[in-house]
């Protein structure tokens, strides 16, 4: 990244003198614009990073964070020492993988469709409606799912399945349904949001491209695949890279509250975040929760650097850095 930076710096811009002085003169207003943001990020994000040491300490409140004893990697042990380590890692990665793919494809599809609609009234209406789930908290979503799936009071078991002549299903104890249920809930809740983001970039595309294409007799389909998608690729890549960076994290509410913390489902619903929560709810150990966070971040970081490297190889334009 430093190499890249220096390359840019060295490359003389056409029509500009290459000297440092004129560079500074040209760019100081831009740096001035950045200043508040940089300061905020240092305070809000970089300074607290000293907290990483908590992961390597046995925190004792009488001694304070800095006075507590160092314990090396002991706080990390619980993440690997258990036989559940395989299950939680597998679940976390598989779900996130599936989420990245379904989420991206569906959101792009809906964004394109939304953009196609001619009547503005409908565009607005649909947009508002599909954002609704995003505004609800996971706790509420979990109650809604429960209202659908419950044995005693659920809409499916009480109304729909009897109509179809199917016996009621004990949803909360059958593991086989949950990968699908969780994927559906996740997409249902998140697509509206992602769709709005993609829509904003689609709207930002210069209409001249389409006008030219239409003159050339390109079909809608061709326009979508050769204009829209390539032009929003940078945003898609950014969103995907970010999702990859967070592949070891998961939405706690989705995996804990939506299955109602149902024990029999743990095989397919336990992810790293829920494992840590269940284990630490009584221990309340700061060091161990920091360790989990550090582990998740580190894996994500490595993966992002790798993926970005791959993107750079394929198309330098679209790489994030």
């Amino acid at each position: 990244m430093e190499q890249a930076a220096s390359k840019i710096r060295i490359r003389p811009r056409p029509g500009k003198a290459g000297s440092r002085w004129s560079m500074a003169k040209k760019f100081w207003p831009l740096y001035l614009l950045m200043l508040p943001g940089v300061v905020y990020m240092i305070i809000n994000n970089y300074l607290p990073m000293f907290g990483i040491i908590i992961a390597f300490k046995d925190i004792n409140f009488a001694k304070g964070i800095f006075g507590s004893d160092w314990v090396g990697f002991k706080n990390f042990e619980y993440l690997f020492k258990t036989e559940d380590a395989y299950i939680i890692t597998r679940n976390t990665i598989l779900y996130n993988g599936a989420f990245i793919v379904t989420h991206t494809v569906l959101a792009i599809a809906f964004a394109i469709l939304l953009n196609e609609i001619r009547k503005k009234f409908f565009t607005r209406l649909y947009q508002s409606i599909i954002l609704l789930p995003y505004l609800m908290s996971m706790v509420i979503v979990s109650y809604l799912v429960y209202a659908l799936l419950s044995m005693e009071t659920g809409f499916l078991n009480k109304t729909v399945l009897p109509l179809l002549g199917i016996e009621s299903i004990s949803w909360y104890t059958e593991t086989k349904y949950w990968p699908a249920i969780l994927t559906i809930v996740h997409n249902w809740k998140g697509i509206g949001f992602l769709c709005v983001i993609y829509l904003a970039s689609i709207i930002g595309i210069d209409p001249e491209y389409y006008e030219a294409a239409t003159l050339d007799g390109a079909s809608k389909r061709q326009q979508i695949f050769s204009i829209t998608i390539p032009l929003i690729a940078p945003v898609v890549i950014f969103m995907t890279l970010l999702a990859i960076g967070r592949i070891f994290y998961s939405d706690f509410g989705l995996f804990y509250q939506v299955p109602m913390n149902s024990g029999p489902l743990l095989e397919v619903t336990n992810v790293i975040d829920t494992y840590v929560y269940r284990g630490l709810i009584f221990l309340g150990d700061l060091g161990m929760s920091s360790a989990a966070g550090a582990y998740q971040s580190l894996v994500g970081f490595v993966l992002v650097i790798l993926s970005n490297y791959v993107v750079r190889r394929l198309s330098k334009e679209n790489a994030l850095f």
Partner: protein
């Protein structure tokens, strides 16, 4: 490159600054160190001091909290030249807030403790035995030596329990109207197995009612116990710790298997909610809504009246065991002095008032007389004219938390002698042999997290009868073992033996 080192340097400098502030600086806070010069016996000669007292609350901060605080301060100022600042924190934020406030060294002088073992092992609390002897005689007298000793960890006490029900007896809480209406005989019921008959009659006569409910995130059996859990149920003493100090794996005992089979029978007969594992309502709410008839729980004198008020129906209790005092029943609500407290002796002095001064206790428990409650002729209290539970400016209703509840007025509807009864209840309760043992899981943290996860997977299903114990119990035990429960039990046994030697 130069630029970069520049701001790395700046960053480091800032970090140092933060660390300087963040460090708790425990210098000069040796317990009792300053007490000698304070000459506590001559309280009026002390310089003024403000004690910040943090506790958790449910619901909104009472509107008139400030007024109550002012009234308290009138008394404590005169007696100790100390004022108090009440710092109520909502239960949802409590744990987090305490962690944060203590790491950052914010001013805190007196706190409620609800996770004693954790608080002690993480160094959140100051040792207070010496301070108690010097400034807290009233507290020691009110608590009594038995229960006071139960707070000692390696001979040192870090907190004192509030005076409330310090023991627990388990049993069934059931709607009295139904028992009377269908003339169900409960006289012979004194064990878990005997309940089946009661449930059968309830189910036969009231088909729309679920005979027994559980509460959210807990199983049907989750509110029933015949063991001393020694902190976390992973390694327990059976028979309420009456036999010996042998730590056993509760889940592998025949008693546990028997209990599971009993509940499974209930479940299959339809006595338990089909959705028990996902139940989203509190047990009381289920009864109040007319959906369930009973639930298991631990009890105390005055419990029926309390539950009747809560459900709006007359409730009765069926006892399924004796009252037992265990470390957990004593330490689940205590007061302690946080390790960052500036003048711990002043905290204890004020705490002493909460155990001895009737006026202060009543202010904390019920508010201001005439404004938040009125005393009737029979000595019981009620809302004043025109005030109700909804409109009162101070309705914390948490007498069990603030010091010595026995000094407080009795609310109308309760037995006027409730405190006397409760005192007897505490005195007569049988005591677990491990009463006073506080378990420190620090050395087996990794195993404990794994075991909690396994327990989450099986316990609620098994203990609500949803899972078949014949099939799932062996699987549960296998997973517990590979998660390391035996290591936890061995460690616990070691700690318990060491503890026993010092007794």
């Amino acid at each position: 490159m130069k630029k970069r080192t520049g701001w790395v340097g700046a960053l480091l400098a800032l970090m140092l600054l933060v660390s300087a502030c963040g460090g708790n600086g425990d210098s000069g806070k040796k317990p009792g160190g300053e007490a000698a010069e304070g000459q506590a016996s001559q309280a009026s000669g002390q310089e003024p001091y403000e004690v910040v007292m943090a506790f958790y609350i449910f619901g909104e901060v009472p509107r008139d909290l400030q007024l109550v605080q002012d009234e308290i301060n009138k008394i404590s100022k005169a007696k100790l030249n100390t004022t108090v600042k009440l710092l109520p924190i909502n239960i949802g934020a409590w744990k987090n807030q305490m962690n944060l406030m203590m790491t950052s060294g914010e001013k805190l002088d007196l706190i409620v403790i609800n996770e004693y073992s954790n608080d002690v092992t993480k160094g959140r609390l100051l040792p207070i035995n010496e301070l108690l002897e010097r400034h807290g005689q009233g507290i020691l007298e009110a608590v009594g030596p038995d229960y006071y000793n139960a707070t000692k960890v390696k001979g040192i006490s870090y907190g004192v329990p509030s005076i409330r029900d310090l023991a627990a007896d388990y049993g069934l809480v059931v709607r009295k109207d139904l028992i009377d209406k269908h003339a169900i005989d409960v006289s012979g019921v004194n064990a878990l197995e005997d309940l089946e008959g009661v449930f059968r009659e309830l189910k036969d006569n009231e088909p729309n009612l679920v005979p027994i409910t559980n509460k959210t995130n807990t199983s049907v059996l989750g509110t029933f116990s015949t063991r001393d859990s020694l902190g976390d149920d992973f390694g327990v003493l059976v028979n309420n710790g009456q036999d010996d100090l042998k730590v056993v794996n509760w889940f592998a005992t025949e008693e546990y298997a028997e209990q599971l089979r009993t509940v499974r029978k209930w479940y299959e007969a339809g006595y338990v909610l089909k959705d028990a594992v996902q139940n989203q309502e509190a047990d009381v709410a289920m009864v109040k809504a007319g959906k369930a008839a009973s639930f298991l729980g631990h009890q105390k004198p005055g419990y029926e009246a309390q539950q009747s008020r809560a459900t709006g129906m007359e409730m009765m209790t069926i006892k399924l065991g004796p009252a037992v005092a265990k470390t957990s029943t004593v330490t689940n609500n205590m007061w302690g002095v946080p390790s960052g407290a500036e003048k711990p002796e002043r905290s204890i002095q004020f705490l002493n008032l909460m155990y001895t001064d009737k006026d202060i206790v009543n202010l904390l428990d019920w508010g201001i007389e005439g404004k938040h409650y009125a005393i009737a002729e029979d000595g019981l209290i009620d809302y004043p004219e025109g005030i109700s539970a909804q409109t009162t400016g101070y309705g914390l209703n948490m007498g069990w938390m603030f010091g010595n509840q026995f000094l407080s007025h009795v609310w109308k509807g309760d037995n006027p002698d409730v405190w006397k009864e409760m005192d007897e209840f505490n005195r007569n309760a049988i005591k677990s042999k491990a009463l006073g043992f506080t378990w420190d899981p620090t050395s087996v943290k990794a195993e404990v997290t794994a075991v909690y996860n396994v327990a989450d997977q099986y316990r609620r299903g098994l203990e609500s009868g949803v899972l078949d114990p014949d099939k799932e119990l062996p699987a549960f035990l296998n997973k517990l073992e590979s998660a390391g429960i035996n290591k936890i039990i061995a460690e616990k046994q070691k700690q318990l033996d060491e503890w026993a030697q010092t007794q």
